[in-house]
Amino acid sequence: MTGDGQAAADAPTKIAVRELTVHYGSTRALASVSLDVPDRHVTACIGPSGCGKSTFLRCLNRMNDHIRGVRITGRVTIDGEDVYAPSVDPVALRQRVGMVFQKSNPFPKSIFDNVAFGPRIHGERDPVRLRGIVERSLRQSALWEEVSDRLDRSALDLSGGQQQRLCIARALAVEPEVLLMDEPASALDPIATAKIEELIHELKEQYTIVIVTHNMQQAARVSDYTAYFYMGNLVEFGPTERLFTNPSRPETEDYITGRFG
């Protein structure tokens, strides 16, 4: 089980990663990582800065394609389908694998237009259906009660925590199967963070969630499975409870008990 995340989980596998290696130029960011992300659970990626956890996340929806000088080898499959196969359009892939970023990045448009952006570019024109999608997505991200009376106001007028939940709603509006979250609460205050965590808890009923976090308490609170990365290697992967109470690798124990990192 150590250093190898294959079949560590009891739930069926949604994303299977095999020997994933990533280079940025001559720097190796990820070294032969193999991991099974279980379906409709929350998988947390933890580890010190520069350990490769964000790189790992960005491989799952091929956002790394846009970085110059990147070289990716290995296999990533979602429901058995190879994400890096030449026949796969990364644009279509990203409809299935949504992403929420560390710094909230709403478009300088209205709240409504932010959430409706995804459905619109994928061809939804009907105003009634669009309204339905926007309401459903904002309810799912627990923002509806706060903004339902001002959907036409600029998204930039919202508070930081609201902006981040808006970004989650915007990602959900595309109806993805997987939601990737790259330190979604690291720029938020404790109350806003608690809301996001509560939200993650509800969303895992429907979505497979992979979350990168610096905050080990957060990983312990929100995730079912945890992957510990160090220097581009997957050190340990397993059920969160076991990993935090009884890690099988001494490096993991050192990190989670705060002896380094």
Partner: protein, 283 residues
């Protein structure tokens, strides 16, 4: 020690006074020019200036209605060329421009920007005037449009580059293809700045005289259509200012003031567009 201190103090005083003096000269010249033009122009300006044709030689009075309309038509053609070409070129440079080709395009834009305006006029004379046998509004407008392109290209590129990468990533992560990211997210976010840049580029060519001398020439009457010589404010100023008639000099001052107000107005409009709503980076 004391000697050194006094010397340093003296040098400091002299240098400070020099910089203050240079600033005062700069501002003084600017305000003298603006003030003199405003005074001379305002005392020469009347309603006639805006609604009448130039008076026949030897008579006083008349106006420059045809030059105002002529300048408008020239700028319309310039905008029809400079805005789309400059805007599209800027979008390409900012969003797709990598490698040697982008470097070549940027360099070409800078070179074009540095070509003396009279040379542009001569080239257009050879290409659009000589073959047709007559000067025209079209040739003048094309000359101004060509001059506008490099400024418009670089302004568009600069403002698109200010749009934060996080917005592009957000749209890409929603499954937007690159062209949709550009059209629906990046360009709207940078639009205010781009609009301001394009207005300034147009304002800049509005005062150009040299490229019009060989292309649009001048006209003392209305210039119907696009294929006849036309009057324009800059060329009228040039013609009237060097003429031996006192009345023409006053009209040149009036035309100078009108041109200045138009260009200044465009500048203010551009600045207002930039400041309202803040920068695209305010996300």
């Amino acid at each position: 020690m004391n000697h050194h201190y006094l010397r340093r103090r003296l040098v400091e005083r002299i240098m400070f006074a020099t910089t203050v003096g240079a600033t005062a000269v700069t501002l003084g010249v600017l305000f003298f020019l603006l003030g003199y033009l405003a005074w001379q122009g305002a005392t020469s300006l009347s309603l006639d200036f805006f609604i009448h044709l130039p008076a026949p030689v030897g008579e006083t009075g008349g106006g420059m209605a045809n030059a105002i309309v002529g300048s408008g038509k020239l700028l319309l053609i310039a905008a029809l060329i400079g805005v789309p070409v400059g805007f599209m070129g800027g979008v390409w440079l900012a969003e797709y421009g990598t490698g040697w080709l982008a470097g070549a395009v940027r360099y070409a834009a800078d070179v074009l920007n540095g070509v003396p305006s009279i040379v542009i006029g001569v080239i257009l004379y050879a290409v659009l005037v000589r073959p047709f046998g007559h000067f025209s509004t079209l040739a003048g407008g094309v000359a101004l449009g060509l001059m506008m392109i490099p400024v418009a290209v670089r302004a568009t590129e600069e403002f698109l580059r200010l749009v934060p990468g996080s917005l592009r990533e957000a749209a890409l992560a929603l499954g937007a293809p690159k062209w949709i990211v550009i059209v629906r997210v990046v360009i709207p976010a940078g639009m205010r700045g781009i609009a301001a840049g394009l207005i300034l580029a147009l304002a800049r060519v509005a005062g150009e005289t040299a490229p019009l001398l060989f292309t649009a020439l001048n006209n003392r009457f209305w210039s119907p259509g696009w294929s006849q010589p036309t009057a324009s404010l800059p060329v009228m100023i040039f013609t009237y200012a060097i003429a031996p008639y006192e009345d023409w000099h006053r009209q040149a001052w009036a035309a100078g003031l009108v041109l200045l107000v138009l260009v200044l107005g465009a500048n203010i409009l551009a600045r207002a567009a930039l400041s309202r709503g803040g920068s695209p980076a305010a996300s």
